[in-house]
Amino acid sequence: MSRLRNALLAGTFAGALGLGIAPAALAQELSFSQVERGRYLATASDCVACHTDIEEGGKRYAGGRGLETPFGTIYSSNLTPDEATGLGRWSRDEFYRALNEGISRDGSHLYPAMPYPHFTKMSREDADAIFAYLRTLEPVTAEIPENALPFPLSIRMSVAGWKLLFFDKEGFAVDPDQSEEWNRGRYLVDALAHCGACHTGKNLLGADKEDEYLRGGTLDNWYAPNIRGGVNGGLADWEAEDIVRFLGEGRSRHTAPMQRMGEVVGLSTQHLRDEDLMAIAVYLKSLDDAPREEAETPSQARFETGEAIYFDNCAACHSADRSGVPYIFAPLDSSNKVTAEDPSTAIRIILGGARAQQTEAVPSQIAMPPFAWKLTDQQVADVVTYLRAASDRKAGPVSAGEVEDMRAHLQEK
């Protein structure tokens, strides 16, 4: 309790210096309930993931994590209220402008690695609450490395052009025809959790393609699957309850979050309220997708080769009939990773292995071992081809070249 009070006092003091507002007024804004709300919203927005140098064991919210984008590495900023290197001198208006317009305190443009195209939908009230929470953090002095971007992207003004093309500063519009729950889910998905940052396909300049909304996207050689529902989406086979458990406990009948999504569940969604997770589920389930194009069928010989590789290497855990062990070993007969148009994730997991996210509810850390040393590019391609062809929703063959590229990428890392 005393730590919280001290943090509140520190925040008040810093705020008073930076803003010239009467401390009493600010103290009222930093009420317990507002800070609590801000903490929850910051968690829902998963700020901590990008703004903590997790790889180097950095302090929470002190920034410095290198975010690899197709254009270069961008380092996240320090969100603690440190005067020199953090948000110490920021006003809540400036903070809101950063979320809403992608403009920094000094008026420069923020790179859209900061997902303000999503946060622009966030309400002023919520942005203020997040700011209030961030003011209570212990100030950490942390200089952020220079971004590693090529010219002309290294010039922040280049972002202005990008924004002109791709950034719509539009607030969140409630759809009166939909339920309150649905609207809450949409707000969580779009304005806070920014699911589309990974799950929506991007154009060549890294902006969301509107017609690809939540239809799956590629990020750092992971393919974030299609998370639309309906009868054709990637979550068509998932019940709303599966989505809630996946996000809240880190397990569902279908799969477990791992690596990138594991981080999201570990840091963010497992801490959200069940009714918010259900709202997300209801919203995602409501989004149908266009029927898939009929997939090319592999030759019988290739199918059988892949099946034999599967039986020898995969069946012990994932079952001979690919039904897996729900909640432990993913069923592969209906996996949206296996049947994604882009097979990157399936290839990557086979080559490099994966570990299920440990959560408060499920502390197990069940892992799949890497097969890169054991299977050739052709063998991996064959087994993925088999799985895609044998699945309920069929997907086309995979070439050894795709595996070779992924292997090269993983070796670089």
Binding site: N313, A316, I328, F329, G353, P363, S364, Q365, I366, P369
Partner: protein, 586 residues
Amino acid sequence: MTKHLPRVDVVLVGFGWTGAIFAEKLTAAGLDVLALERGPWRDTPSDFATTFAQDELRYYWRHGMFQEASQDTLTFRNNSAQTALPMRRWGSFLPGNGVGGAGVHWNGQTYRFLPSDFVARSHNEERYGPLPADMTVQDYGVTYEELEPHFDYFEKICGICGQAGNVNGETIEGGNPFEGMRSDQYPNPPMRMTFSQDRFAASARALGLNPFPVPSANMSRAYVNPLGLQMAPCTYCGFCEKHGCGNYSKASPQTTIIPVLMRRPNFGLRTNSEVLSVEKTPDGKHATGVTYVDTSGEVWFQPADIVILCAYPLQNTRLLLLSEIGAPYDPRTGEGVVGKNYCYQVMSSATVFFEDEYTNGFVGAGALGMVVDDYNGDNFDHSGLGFIGGGYIACGTTNARPIESHPVPEDVPRWGSAWKKAVRENFLKTTSVGVHGASMAHRSNYLDLDPTYKDVWGRPLLRMTYDFTLNDRRLTEHLTPVAEEIARGMGGAHVKVNARRGSYDSKPYQTTHNTGGTIMGTDPASSVVNRYGQSWDLPNLFVTGAGLFPQNAGYNPTGTVGALAYWSVDAIINQYLPDPGPLVRP
């Protein structure tokens, strides 16, 4: 130069099953706990993943999971008249090493000892009269009834698969009719049996015996344990013993406790850290911590309020002797306690060779089997037999690992084309009925420090003086024919009896069920620790593991080791912490 580290509440020496159990309960009670493990960190995907877990060369032949004899071994002799020599390669038993200890590479057979096993002296003397003077058999000081809740909890932590025979006094068909009263069923149903078990059960029933499924820590179905940890169904691959399980299907510290423990901020683990000695206050009445050495040769003193020895029994005994805690046992006078009542087990078997039927022994699991308990403990009348105790008789299909397992009939040459032909003919058509015989303590079997041989740190090696006793010989001679009779009733063409005769031989593998040396009991003159595992000499020193057994029963020990660990840690939390001091006044 020894460097001093900051104090912790509890330091654990060794981080296998018992270390994980103590650490989990003590950290949950809010104590700062540090475990020191001599071997490396080990986990499923990195150290025994499905992609290479079945590497028999690496794990069995090259001893991938075991203590390295070049790091530390012991010397062995059959009796005091001989000169002990170092065991330079393991044979008869395989001590574990590394995080998870032998709990990583065990088979998973998880029995409870019988109620009469815990009162072996008083029970047998009451029924049969005084035991021979040299049989140093003792009561545990703790009863089955006291341990029952802890057996139950350990079974739930492990997800043991079995068929209860006695729940709250109600006899249940298909279970073990001789077992002590259970408060609950097993958490999971028995494993699926194979051809061999079906034949064994039919033959045993025809002889009026009571077959039941071996209680198994290999999962018959998916399971979530009380700590929220997930286990997957066993695939019956037959690589349990000597191997880690890559499928999360075998209960081990890694699958059932460690992932929860590693998240707790009040738990610490230092691997590759070998404890050299337990340190004491100048008056010798309290432990102050332990001294350990890391891989760089740096020596550290780790102070702690409570020291708990969780290493293998042989290692715990040696550590007490090296630390000069407790009086070393002297077989000439029968006085002293540390190293006393070292026991083993007496194993025999009958192999059945079928002609036209397939046993397919490669479809196996470490604890896949049917078993009869009619000849175990005091489940049968020993009047006039000249021995006490017994053993279970079981038909397990644990494996057909090809380097290790290629049984051939007796008349086949040991090598050459005739041998190869016989291996080919019999590989899929054999099974075995084994006798798992108890070993009763004897005055002449004990552990002490070797006068000649030293380890890499210059400390004397442990010396084992052991031979099968008259009791052991009579026991195995009585039980092996029963196994043979069951085997002959299984419909095979030929039965080969592998009797245990002659002196104990430390070379061929028999079992890693070494017990005693740090025995528990009711009297400081005859035991190292009291009924809670607390040292009679240093009240803040506890010892756990099978070294507590005053004599060995006719079962695999892990179930009882687990129950004793939970019993002991419960006493620490609920009795010792509120009022530190001796929990039993002699």
